[in-house]
Amino acid sequence: MSIHNKTIAQLSKGLNSGEFSSVELTQHYLDRINSSQLNAFITVTDELAMEQARSADDKIAKGNANILTGIPYAHKDIFCTNGIKTSAGSKMLDNFISPYDATVSHKLNQAELVMLGKANMDEFAMGSSNENSYYGDVKNPWNINKIPGGSSGGSAAAVAGRLAPFATGTDTGGSIRQPSSLCGITGLKPTYGRISRYGMIAYASSLDQAGPMTQTAEDAALVLNVMAGFDEKDSTSAERDVEDYTASLNDSIKGLTIGLPKEFFSEGLDDEVASQVMAAVKEFESMGASVKEVSLPNSAYAIPTYYIVAPCECSSNLSRLDGVRYGYRCDDPKDLEDLYLRSRSEGFGEEVKRRIMIGAYALSAGYYDAYYLKAQKTRHLISEDFKKAFKDVDVIMGPVSPTTAFDLGSVKDPVSMYLADIYTLSANLAGLPGMSIPAGFAQNLPVGLQLIGNYWSESKLLNIAHQFQMQTNWHTKVPQGSE
């Protein structure tokens, strides 16, 4: 097996047994990144990576290593990294060298991981196709004419294209799960508040949540062990101990009750995607799980709810980007207003401007009740639907995305793009954990199965996903050209 097809768990064994060094491993990935056509990275931090790899090898030689010491990864360019450009995929932050580390960056450094570079993404995490990056489209490793999904498209393409054994991602409305599904990898969005948001450039603060993107559920558990935890620097961080997420991976799932929301299998879902998802559910039944139909009656309203709540929060969050303290400033401003107007208009891309304007309008006097408040109420109803469903079932399953990856450049109308987020948005609105795991292929492209769990059920989700991956080999498939 090529070294780059190994999982984190396998690489860790290889490093600790002296089969290969972190320097060799890191160089191998850097070579692959430099000859890749996927545009998965905005910045490749080769010098830093080699330095971190040497220090990791030192630790391993001295017997002071932890399980992740010397494992390389791709870091979504939304996480601040001290002394390294952190662009969030935007021209606005093209010149932003972060003066501090995000908590997630800090934790990964503490765990002695090796950062290969900063992964490409939709500008400020706004997008479902990675076509909104200032640094160009990311290509799907399974077919370079297709989108990789978004907003963590660079992260997903890097893992699927075997340019990194894992990547960090963030998920505000599906941005970990949807690209994971479209690129055929494993992605976990934990419960809101599980991983610190400190230094993770804010899009919609009540929805944003970071998570791991990996080949396997076992790897996701290993990485989540490091990423998770309370952080006093994040005002909405959960004061809750971190479990060992690997501890229950091997538990039996006999007797598991799976809920299938009928709303997730209605009009708009591609037939082949539906049959792959149902085949995966059948597999679970053969493993001793039972299936029950559930209803999430308000889930259809997740799209309008999200596309009011998220833009409102984004219009507020992005108001700080004004060309004064950091980031892009226009040339020769004639006065302060001109400075604000031109810096923001020249610095932000189209989709970001659209969402800022929607938010500014929905929050303005006279419209606040009709839009923002109404959406916050609907959000409550959406979360109540889940509460009801979880009285009867242990986990909810369904598709991640209504279709497989579509052609780059083929969806031009913003509302059509938003509709593709139908199955992922509700988990963010409710704050619930969700996963995408590889579950087959349709039209020669990967199909993901979505798992949605109750609050703080990350261990359970990882257990369910791991048991599935012990029975199936979808997660081991590698795109042609990336073997």
Binding site: S235, I303, R325, F348, Q376, R379, G431
Partner: protein, 95 residues
């Protein structure tokens, strides 16, 4: 209800964005289609529903009021477009 180009121009200005004539036209079309999507929300009865501002219904933590961060103005200002005498500089506001 739909927004006119004039209203979209006003919204853009509120958000400190300026749009070219062409952008104004395309944004008016896009914003109107997004708002008509949002109008689906009117179908739902929400009279007695409390708005949900936070997924975990948490209350904000309090902490002791003491200084925890050291002065980092130098490193923060090193990345600013224009500074002078420890201030951020912008075009003259008052002559």
């Amino acid at each position: 209800m739909s927004l006119s180009e004039e209203q979209v121009g006003q919204i853009a200005y509120l958000a400190r964005l300026s749009l070219s004539d062409e952008e104004l036209q395309s944004n008016t079309k896009d914003l109107n289609s997004i708002l008509s999507l949002a109008e689906q929300l009117a179908e739902i009865k929400t009279d007695d529903i409390t708005p949900m501002a936070h997924p975990l219904h948490m209350t904000q933590r309090l902490r002791e009021d003491k200084v925890t961060e050291k002065d980092q103005s130098e490193s923060f200002q090193a990345i600013a477009p224009k500074t002078g005498k420890r201030h951020y500089l912008v075009p003259t506001v008052i002559e």
